[in-house]
């Protein structure tokens, strides 16, 4: 770890300009400290001798781009992460959605898809899955490919099963997947209800209207200006009386759309859109 190569502020700006101009990925409104940390980390793991070499590879090798995007964004997630949040969804939010003839849920920034499968499981247990479609989107085409397969490491199942139980799940968690060697393949009936698709919250527009949008632990990587853009995008994509769920440390409080929403619980980060 000694002599860790370090990208300078100016170099980071050069990299961001390259990504935007060459590839149309605009990271300029991402939080800098996290971005810089991940670029530095990539310098080490990919053994780039200097910034110039990293930049050259990125410009000359479009295939490397996908890996680069995956590495500089954060894709750490779990099934039923924050069990108390999922308990609240199961008991207080999702049953409301049952009154709709057709339920559309958007998971924005789904990373490797664990949350999408968690929601599908909840909908199945509430007997609502047959009329539900879950749109799970992310900036990373690579992680979406993995998510789509429904295959997750078997070593994660113990933790996920515990999270599931803590969130009020009463079934055997293992009934939702087939275990094979070191992999767990989630049931096709769950996979069929999830549409994985690339979507960039920085530059892409609203693509449907939803009754529930989940975007947890994504906005912390954005600067305030971009957070606001994304909030407006969500507002444009949410039905009246629809719900917006954020991460434990994220809030709608300082956003421009705040007065159109009510927080449904003093603790959980879930807001409901007012009737127009």
């Amino acid at each position: 770890m000694r002599g860790t190569p370090e990208v300078k502020e100016e170099e980071l700006e050069i990299l961001l300009t390259d990504l935007n101009e060459r590839y149309g990925y605009d990271f300029t409104d991402y939080s800098r400290a996290s971005l810089k940390r991940r670029v530095n980390r990539l310098m080490v793991t990919e053994k780039f001798p200097s910034f110039a070499e990293m930049r050259f590879r990125l410009i000359e090798d479009p295939f490397y781009l996908r890996r680069f995007i995956e590495e500089i964004t954060v894709n750490v997630t779990e099934m039923f992460r924050d069990p108390e949040f999922f308990t609240y969804l199961r008991n207080q939010i999702l049953p409301h959605l049952g009154t709709y003839p057709f339920i559309r849920i958007w998971i924005a920034g789904c990373a490797s898809g664990e949350e999408a499968y968690s929601i599908a499981i909840l909908m199945e247990e509430l007997k609502l899955l047959n009329k539900t479609l879950i749109y799970a989107t992310d900036i990373n085409p690579r992680v979406l490919e993995g998510a789509q397969t429904g295959i997750f490491p078997i070593r994660s199942m113990q933790q996920y099963s515990e999270n599931y139980r803590l969130s009020g799940g009463t079934e055997e968690f293992s009934k939702y997947y087939i275990a094979q060697y070191d992999k767990a393949l989630f049931k096709e009936s769950l996979r069929n209800k999830i549409v994985f698709s690339p979507h960039n919250l920085v530059s892409d527009r609203s693509f449907n209207s939803f009754q529930l949008i989940l975007c947890r632990n994504v906005l912390i990587y954005f600067q305030l200006r971009l957070q606001n853009r994304v909030f407006k995008l969500f507002d444009a994509s949410l039905d009246q009386l629809g719900y917006l769920a954020l991460g434990a440390k994220e809030t709608l409080r300082f956003s421009e759309i705040y007065n159109k929403y009510k927080q449904v619980d003093s603790r959980e980060k879930i807001w409901r859109k007012n009737e127009a």
């Binding site: 770890m1 939080s31 800098r32 996290s34 954060v74 750490v76 991460g247 434990a248 994220e250 603790r267």
Partner: protein, 187 residues
Amino acid sequence: MKPDLVIIGGSAGSLQVVLEIISLLNTPVAFSIVCVFHRKYTPHDNTLITLLQSKSLIPVKEAEDKEMFKPGHIYVAPANYHLLLETDRSFSLDISEKINFSRPSIDVAFMTAADALGNKLMGILLSGANSDGVLGLKRIREKGGYCIAQDPATASVSYMPAQAVAQKVIHERCSPKEIAVRLNQYG
């Protein structure tokens, strides 16, 4: 050297030390204080903030994402997130992989603080059983900041501050009381 921000990292055995230090500080303080503790995550738990507040007149609060840090406040890194300091003097949170088996990682907070504040930063590493924070102190020092380790002889778990001493990344080692005296010199 008069710091704009004092960042304190601690693991096992460090809470008592921070409680002692802040109870000895003259108020108001002219700098911001940021505490990064290794601790277990309990949802909606406010005990730590309440406990710290009970020892000091300096307002104590959890650091929030994109919040600007101001002098005269004590900020505590939330459990289960990394705390990063930005050059515009705001906080960012990050829920990426644990570093040194820890989230928050002291190294992450210290390193980003070093980048953001340069020679306007003081880093203090307290009691703990992990080596998290040592690289962070090194970065603070490289960027012109001032580094203190709790005197390992006074630490209930000496490994962490002893690492900082052994790797020669600190300017001085201090007992908790001496740390408070040092901070009171800066008003």
